[in-house]
């Protein structure tokens, strides 16, 4: 394949029309650049959006109580139904439920103290199972475990903001004792992000401890559960609603009683949106690339026309049609590939730069061009180079030497 002679010929031929070759190459470079940029940015968009779900398991379902809207078995409508700790065990026993745990957020804030510093914050009681479902992002320390729960230990995971207020952010608070109301708690961890919180300013303690120290009522604010692999919430929901409606005596068809958030449903919606965006980007990117290639093809056609005489001379002194075809195809492929390669490097470079600079928002983070994108872009490039080259090459081969030599 590597034939020095051919490359010399190629160099001479391309350098005859530097500006035109340059502009054509730019079209292809730009096409590949845009394709890579679009796909890389799409990846960033996808990652950013999926990061919205990072505080919770993707297969989790959250269930809360509400008010009845229909009278049922002699009970009036408008009655409040609160979920209780026994419901957690009930749901946990259902086939298809992987794990279930309660969360209970106390309405009023409690004064918390460390040394001379104090502030009022909300308390959230959770079980060890929740550590897997509700993923608190810990800055330091550990999650609440089953031992904490069983022994109703007075341990707390505090928000980074509470750490800021109580300890002025100077100490590692893990192992320190803070007072919640009058009760001493040992800090076991600090978190900086949690589901449903704008800023990390709550205290998470074991649900059992919460009942023992602050609120003995067996109610829970929400039940969080995860669905086993091979099941979906739709499979489990009828039985879950039936069991809960029997315990709390409400009409199982009354949809206003239970507030249910199926995270996987949201994930699916976002994923389908993402694949839609991805397809759109591929179409737009490929279109841009194709426009570049049509440009190459067009320019080569014009060039072939202008070089009619040259092809005629070459044929007269012994070039075969195959020699001419190969020469034109070679030129087009080299221009397309070299230009495409430059575009590819520029696109990957820019995406990488954006990623390095840490430019991100709620819906956008860590854009990346993965290997499959780069490989398929290169594949499209090769293909389009061949298509772009073939038409002019065929035109060149058709040139009859006599016609060509008459061509002034």
């Amino acid at each position: 394949m590597f034939d020095f002679e051919r490359w010399t010929e190629l160099g001479q031929s391309l350098s005859q029309h530097k500006l035109r070759t340059g502009l054509t190459a730019f079209g292809v470079s730009w096409g590949i650049f845009m394709l890579v940029l679009l796909l890389g940015m799409g990846k960033g968009l996808e990652r950013g959006t999926m990061a919205l779900f990072q505080d919770t398991a993707l297969n989790s379902v959250w269930i809360g109580g509400g008010k009845t809207s229909q009278s049922y078995k002699g009970l009036t409508s408008g009655r409040t139904v609160s979920l209780e700790i026994d419901d957690v065990a009930l749901l946990d026993s259902l086939p298809g439920v992987e794990s279930a745990g309660p969360t209970k957020l106390l309405d009023k804030g409690y004064v918390m103290r460390y040394g001379k510093n104090s502030g009022a914050f909300q308390i959230n009681g959770i079980s060890a199972a929740n550590a897997e479902i509700q993923k608190l992002s810990l800055l330091s320390g550990r999650q609440i475990n089953q031992l904490d729960e069983r022994e109703s230990r007075k341990v707390a995971i505090i928000g980074a903001r509470i750490n800021d207020v109580l300890m002025k952010n100077q100490l590692n608070p893990v192992g320190k004792t803070i007072f919640i109301g009058e009760t001493p708690f040992t800090v076991i961890g600090v978190y900086n992000k949690a589901l449903g919180e704008q800023s990390p300013n709550r205290v998470y303690i074991p649900y059992a401890t919460l009942r023992q120290v602050f609120d003995a009522a067996p109610t829970v604010t929400m039940i969080a559960l995860t669905v086993s692999a091979g099941y979906s919430w739709t499979d489990i929901k009828p039985e879950a609603v039936r069991l809960l409606s029997r315990r709390h005596r409400f009409d199982p068809n009354d949809s206003s009683v239970l507030e249910i958030y199926d995270i996987s449903n949201d994930v699916k919606k976002v994923e389908s949106l993402m694949s839609g965006i991805r397809i759109f980007m591929i179409i737009v990117g490929t279109g841009t690339l194709m426009a570049g290639c049509v440009g190459v093809s067009n320019t080569m056609l014009v060039t072939v026309k202008e070089r009619t005489r040259e092809f005629g001379i070459r044929k007269a002194i012994g070039a075969s049609s195959a020699d001419i075809l190969f020469m034109v195809l070679h030129e087009t492929l080299v221009v397309t590939l070299a230009a495409g390669y430059v575009g590819l490097i520029a696109g990957v470079g820019l995406v990488e730069l954006i990623s390095r600079l840490g430019i991100e928002s709620d819906y956008f983070r860590h854009p990346q061009v993965d290997l499959s994108i780069a490989v398929s872009a290169l594949g499209i490039l090769m293909l389009s180079g061949l298509i772009a080259g073939y038409l002019p090459a065929r035109q060149a081969v058709r040139v009859s030497p006599i016609e060509a030599l008459r061509h002034e």
């Binding site: 001479q12 001379i313 070459r314 044929k315 002194i317 075969s320 020699d323 030497p401």
Partner: protein, 257 residues
């Protein structure tokens, strides 16, 4: 195409020198024989199609040119002399009749075979020189050898020798645009000779030259002819034709004499 090229060159050319083995006996397998004609044309016709109209250009040409002859073809414009030269040069196809070049029947040749025959058997000299403008004199002269896959060094060596012989030793690296008309035509003649073909076809080779330069070119042709090459020159210049050994008059697609 590539694999058959060496076969061709070994059968027609000496392995060591790459020269056509024309100095050998007339009975050798090469088919280049001093008894056989170089060009043998019988009842050859050729028409052009303009839309639905068919315009006959060559109306039954019979022509024989012996090896080593120096022939000119004369005729008014439109008489078909350029068409005849294109057919003889395998640049164009013919309709009917037969054309045998150096013992090879031309009609059944494929496009690739035709280009190989052109490359090995024929050297062209054109009125408008037809040099590649972006190549230096030496590169232009060496071009036909490129299509014979001759290594670069050998190509340049042979091109240089020919240019020196043409009196252009000091111009070998000049571009065509830097050369005078006469110099360009001498570069073109060097290019026609570089593959050492047995036949030189020239189409109005002096048409763009002044009389003094024309004279030089014709002297060069005579010299080449004395070396054993067959020359066919198309011209409308009586003086030029008078310098050749035989003049063929073409009129209205037919040979008159």
């Amino acid at each position: 195409m590539l694999d058959s090229a060496p076969r061709y060159s070994t059968s027609l050319r000496d392995k060591q020198t790459g020269q056509l083995k024309k100095q050998q006996s007339a009975t050798d397998i090469l088919g280049i024989s001093f008894e056989k004609p170089m060009i043998s044309v019988q009842s050859l016709t050729k028409s052009y199609h303009l839309g639905s109209m068919t315009v006959p250009v060559l109306k039954g040409i019979d022509l024989s040119v012996k090896v080593g002859e120096f022939v000119s073809i004369m005729g008014p414009s439109g008489s078909g002399k350029s068409t005849l030269l294109n057919v003889l040069g395998i640049l164009d196809r013919y309709d009917d009749g037969e054309y045998i070049l150096n013992g090879t029947l031309i009609k059944p040749l494929s496009e690739t075979e035709a280009s190989r025959h052109r490359n090995h058997l024929i050297g062209f000299v054109f009125q408008s020189f037809n040099l590649l403008p972006f190549k230096s004199a030496i590169d232009n002269v060496a071009m036909p050898l490129y299509y014979q896959k001759v290594p670069r060094k050998q190509r340049e060596e042979r091109a240089r020798k020919l240019l020196e012989r043409m009196g252009l030793a000091h111009r070998i690296n000049h571009m065509p645009s830097e050369l005078s008309g006469g110099q360009r035509q001498r570069v073109a003649i060097a290019r026609a000779l570089v593959t050492d073909p047995p036949l030189i076809l020239a189409d109005e080779p002096t048409g763009n030259l002044d009389s003094e330069t024309s004279e030089e070119v014709m002297e060069l042709f005579t010299e080449i002819n004395h070396e054993g090459k067959t020359l066919v020159v198309i011209t409308h210049d009586e003086e030029i034709a008078a310098r050749t050994r035989r003049v063929i008059h073409l009129q209205d697609g037919q040979i008159r004499n």
